[in-house]
């Protein structure tokens, strides 16, 4: 196994593989999003399943694809950026498909946030949904009560949630594993119940009429028109959420390929040995909680501004569990896998609405099957490479 890709120049074949991979992925996603006929949806799902079965049976194919992406990062980046930027224009003005994309992107941010903890450091956290909610409420209250601009609420909401993250991380000094999991569950429930009970959070009815942000006079509530092409207003938030995902990926990469990421990985592997290497495990655990809350709050702020209406039920324990499932199904400590997990678990229940009554059942079964058949996740963690980058 050649884990460390030699710093060879990209060949034409590499570039072709990268292009085919990205275009193919975009195409399948688009097909799935726009499909209305249950036969087409099933066909796409079967196709994806077959693809993963092939990767499972022939690991060499996966290795080849990964090697291609590693050798041609510039091609991958430029082409990938072009595809995602042009994507809303390929949605044929379908605002529902765009809406699904926005939600999937926000969940991708949440899953990436949790991945810092669960993936890098194996710290359970069932309160990501609560941090998400705190971000959403903080941002919405600032906008509604004080008329603060959305762009200013973003950092404030993140700061509030980060304080919550540290608070949440505080018990991790002493509790571990299942006990720590319960502490986070308890925090999540307390936050949800408080949002549900306080008057100033609107109680169970939540907050309504959260204003949409605007930039340079362009309100996010209005459609985008470029060169006569018109895309629905959801596209504004698509780009906003996309920027957030890009930010999260950048942060994940930088932290992963640094002393901080290594320290997290060390305490994931063996906490005691990590301490003996000079790693302050308490600090790194609290840090993981804080980073998770920080990013989740960003997603919350954008969500609040996007749907303009939030209630406590958007931020329940089950939301936290869903985020956790995305990370585990997608592949711990692998940003790409985590994003795929987020898309899969957001889009699957939505597109299965045609199977109305069976959809949650189906999702539950799919999750169990994934965990049994591919316990390492769809895209498992990859070793770091030095010198090549």
């Amino acid at each position: 196994m050649a884990a460390a890709a030699p710093a060879r120049a990209a060949t034409l074949a590499d570039r072709a593989i990268v292009a085919a991979g990205e275009a193919g992925g975009a195409l399948i996603l688009g097909l799935f999003l726009l499909a209305e006929d249950w036969r087409l949806i099933t066909a796409v799902l079967v196709l994806c399943g077959a693809g993963f079965a092939l990767l499972e049976l022939r690991p060499a194919i996966e290795e080849r694809i990964v090697a291609a992406f590693r050798r041609a990062p510039a091609t991958a980046l430029v082409l990938g950026a072009a595809i995602v930027l042009a994507y809303p224009f390929g949605m044929q003005g379908n605002s529902y498909a765009l809406h699904l994309l926005v939600i999937a992107l926000l969940y991708a941010v949440l899953a990436l946030a949790l991945n810092f903890q669960l993936g890098s450091a194996n710290i359970p956290n069932f309160a990501t949904g609560a941090s998400y909610g705190i971000g959403a409420y903080a941002s919405a209250l600032l906008a509604l009560e004080f008329g603060v601009s959305f762009w200013l609420t973003l950092p404030v909401a993140a700061a509030v949630a980060t304080v919550f993250g540290f608070l949440l991380g505080f018990p991790s000094m002493r509790t571990r594993d299942t006990y720590l999991a319960l502490v986070t569950i308890a925090f999540g429930i307390v936050v949800h119940q408080l949002l549900n009970n306080f008057d100033w959070t609107g109680g169970p009815n939540g907050l309504v009429g959260i204003p949409a942000p605007s930039i340079l006079g362009h309100s996010f509530a209005r459609p985008i028109v470029i060169l006569g092409q018109r895309v629905p207003a959801q596209a504004n938030f698509y780009y906003l959420a996309l920027a957030l995902v890009a930010l999260a990926i950048l942060a994940a990469r930088r932290l992963h390929n640094s002393r901080v990421g290594l320290a997290w990985n060390a305490l994931r592997g063996d906490e005691l040995a990590a301490r003996c290497q000079g790693i302050d495990v308490v600090w790194y655990k609290m840090l993981a909680f804080a980073v998770d809350a920080f990013l989740a709050a960003f997603a919350g702020s954008v969500y609040a501004a996007y749907v303009s209406y939030i209630s406590p039920d958007n931020f329940t324990f089950l939301v936290s569990v869903t985020i956790m499932t995305m990370v585990i199904v997608g592949g711990m400590d692998n940003s790409f896998g985590v994003i795929v997990g987020a898309f899969l678990l957001t889009l699957l229940p939505e597109k299965l609405r045609i199977f109305s009554d069976y959809r949650l059942l189906f999702v539950g079964v799919v999750v169990i099957l994934f965990l049994v058949l591919r316990p390492q996740g769809l895209f498992p963690q990859r070793p770091r490479s030095y010198g090549a980058s």
């Binding site: 196994m1 884990a3 460390a4 942060a251 930088r254 932290l255 390929n257 640094s258 002393r259 901080v260 990421g261 290594l262 320290a263 990985n265 060390a266 994931r268 592997g269 063996d270 005691l272 040995a273 990590a274 301490r275 003996c276 290497q277 000079g278 790693i279 302050d280 495990v281 840090l287 980073v291 963690q381 070793p383 770091r384 490479s385 030095y386 010198g387 980058s389």
Partner: protein, 264 residues
Amino acid sequence: MAAPSPLLETRGLTMRFGGLVAVRGIDLALGSGEVLAVIGPNGAGKSTLFNLVSGLYRPSAGTVHLAGEDITGLPAHRIAARGIARTFQTSRLFGDLTVIDNVIIGMHARTRTGVLDALFRPRRARAELAAAAERAEALLGLVSPDLLARRHTLAGTLPQADRRRLELARALASGPRLIMLDEPSSGMDDRDTDALVEDIAMTMAERPGLSYIIIEHDMRLVAALPGQVVVIDYGEKIAEGPFAEIRRLPRVQEAYLGHKATHA
């Protein structure tokens, strides 16, 4: 009073677990560049002694000084940062990380990148990591060229002898003043043990100022080590001196070599 304080000094070090006294009133002194072997039967309290010095346990009584500075009861990561590195009896590598990652993690206390640096000064963070990787490769080459060649494999897949070497390399990576090796030969056959003795001897020659405390069961290994031997039984130090003298003490033979001899 003129004599400089020893590198490591423990006085009356004691550890109680409930009613059980695992270590009782142990005094040790070790100078820079010295080697100390700790022997004793299973359950004598040798590993507990290591856990006390490395900060994993907080002693019930007694003190630990490193170069004259009181480090008693400091958390393990602080003690590691002050220059005490260790290995474990059952090697505790980061099995799902590569060999080189393991060594770089060993440098944690000597590197500086914090979370803000990693996020906002990526060039600096990357340069630091690249430098660490370079040093790690050099270190692996020193300990075992074979390990260097396998630096990108996962540590969990290594055979036992290589795990020991990697633990040694990881401990060296922190640039310590004192290394504590907990039964480096456990689980290894004679051939591997011989190779290990060579590796240890080589690192000693390479870094003359470095001090060692080695817990060992294998008497051939102990005999090959320079320096003093301390014998521990029932948590207490029962003898101290060069191996040649120690082995002849009746109390030591009775406590330790006696039943070991039946195995040989």
